[in-house]
Amino acid sequence: MEERKVKLEIKDMTKLYDNGDGVEHINLKVYEGEIVTFLGPSGCGKTTILRTIGGFLDVTSGDITVDGQSIVSLPPEKRPTAMVFQSYNLWPHMTIYENLAFGLKLRKIPKAEMDAAIKKHLALVSMSGTEKKYPGQLSGGQQQRIASARSLLLKPSLLLLDEPFSALDAKIRQQMREELKKIQSDLGITVIFVTHDQEEAMSLSHRIVVMNKGKFEQVGTPAEIYDNPKTLHVASFIGEMNFIKKGDKTIAVRPENVSVRAGSGDDLDGTVRTIMLLGHYVVLNVQCGENVVKCNVDRTLSDSLKIGDPVTLKFTKYSEFDTEAGFVPVGQ
């Protein structure tokens, strides 16, 4: 494996709030030029970790290093990080220009250079010409773009983004993701991205950290996490998944990994419950005892079937987990 420089390292970090909530024993290495996403349901501790990196929360124990230097004792303004907050926090009493210029002025950048940089970054987020406006005169999505531009302008070596696109509508969101990916690879910065949207995490990240209840469940590339989920929670949180209970085991199989034929005798027998045409493929729901198994099949097969037909299913690829009492798959 190629030699890669560690940009950020979190070492056995614990952050507990006074009420006992928080995250415990967090370990993670993020390499230079990587986009790593924290993915997990709301309240699992994503923002907490991000804020300890940015310097807005003190860690209870453990260490965080950037480029090998411990940063836990530094105030936010001394850290080489820039954060885009969940609530886009533009300064309401400053124009867009002043918002963007504030950090540059602190760095004593000459005016001409500053103006050019601001112009360039406004164009980058498609917000040219808004220099004289106040944040209150922009929509939420527009404010979010300005907030992103404000952080990017400072060329941080580590960019922290806390659900930056969650308030945007689907189309702009898609655009913003692509922009972010492009900007990241152009500038070569390291990005930590927080989201509860698995699709966003999959499309954006080099690696994903799947979180649940203050703990890391799995760290891996999108493909690793999609193909080999390590826990039931990961399996249910990412992509579509069928869960079939067999005694004390639960089989997790994706709809595209079920092959279907008329008749009986393979892994699981059942009857066709519904047939839905979704463009170039067909979703077949098969009733197998008390389970309903979703299968993606092609037109030639589905055209030969009708509701109530007996079919048999073969799992070409699946994961097996110990059945967890009280486990409810996310979003199913």
Partner: protein, 281 residues
């Protein structure tokens, strides 16, 4: 009668009593006072004399300047102290801060007379501080009675809680994320204060200042009980003109002067409200 006309009648019927009360008790006396202030006490003819008196007579001029001195000192000290207190309450999350946060308004609930007498027993030359000093063999004479410093101290007792209340509300409305954003891009504590916290709370500071200013220009109880014989604050001077010298025309002129002084701060208040609109909408 049409339905609309009836509704109109009811509406006017409801408003007229309040309107009449205001006209009779506020508008009429003000108008009468303004007219009176321009009248010669004997002949009733138009004159500026009632006004020029207060700006040319050395004693009256001194009273005017003395009042401005006391009021401005009160405003400046009360606002600075209240701002520091409000900053502490906003950014400290300790138990002590919470306790202070609930107790600091208490002075407002003490009746003015009681508070003034209580203060007098502490600061007068034979008061509490003097007694404590004597225990340690020091005979302390603060000299605050019948002196501007005593009045200002008393004014602070009344006005700091009030100003702190207004400024605390203003600071409370500044979200943490605004401050965190500033720190994030590299601003230290001082820079964050000067470029975020101060501008975002300036309006509340101005409003608090104007209220403290206005309520102290015409103050009476404190200077009456604690003030000296000369110079006097305008409230006492007005009392003298009206009750001692029965100089009603001069009294009217002095009232108008005090009103005009207050209206300066009213103007500042309205102006600052208008100016804010630029980025608020």
């Amino acid at each position: 009668m049409s339905k609309k006309a009836k509704q109109m009648l009811v509406a006017y019927g409801l408003v007229i009593p309040a309107f009449m009360v205001v006209m009779l008790t506020v508008a009429y006396p003000i108008l009468a006072a303004v007219i009176k202030s321009f009248q010669d006490p004997k002949t009733g003819e138009f004159t500026w004399a009632n006004y020029t008196y207060f700006f040319t007579d050395p004693v009256q001029l001194k009273n005017l300047l003395y009042t401005l001195y006391v009021v401005i000192m009160t405003v400046v000290i009360a606002i600075v102290v209240a701002y520091l207190l409000a900053l502490y309450l906003r950014f400290t999350k300790s138990k002590i801060a919470k306790t202070i946060g609930t107790l600091y308004l208490l002075p407002r609930f003490v009746p003015a007379m009681c508070a003034v007498y209580a203060m007098i027993t502490i600061i007068r030359d034979s008061g509490l501080i003097n007694r404590i000093g004597l225990l340690f063999g020091k005979d302390i004479h603060l000299g605050m009675m019948y002196h501007a410093s005593g009045i200002i101290t008393m004014n602070l007792w009344f006005n700091i809680p009030f100003a702190a209340l207004m400024i605390t509300a203003g600071l409370g409305a500044i979200p943490d994320s605004i401050i965190e954003g500033a720190r994030d891009v590299g601003a230290g504590k001082f820079k964050t204060f000067t470029s975020m916290i101060l501008p975002l709370s300036l309006k509340d500071v101005v409003v608090a200042s104007t209220f403290v200013f206005m309520s102290n220009v015409g103050s009476f109880t404190t200077p009456y009980l604690m003030g000296g014989t000369s110079p006097k604050m305008l409230g006492i001077a007005l009392f003298d003109q009206f009750n001692k010298y029965l100089a009603y025309n001069r009294s009217a002129a002095l009232s108008v002067i005090m009103f005009l002084i207050c209206s300066v701060s009213a103007f500042v208040y309205i102006y600052s409200n208008l100016k804010e609109k630029e980025w608020e909408k």
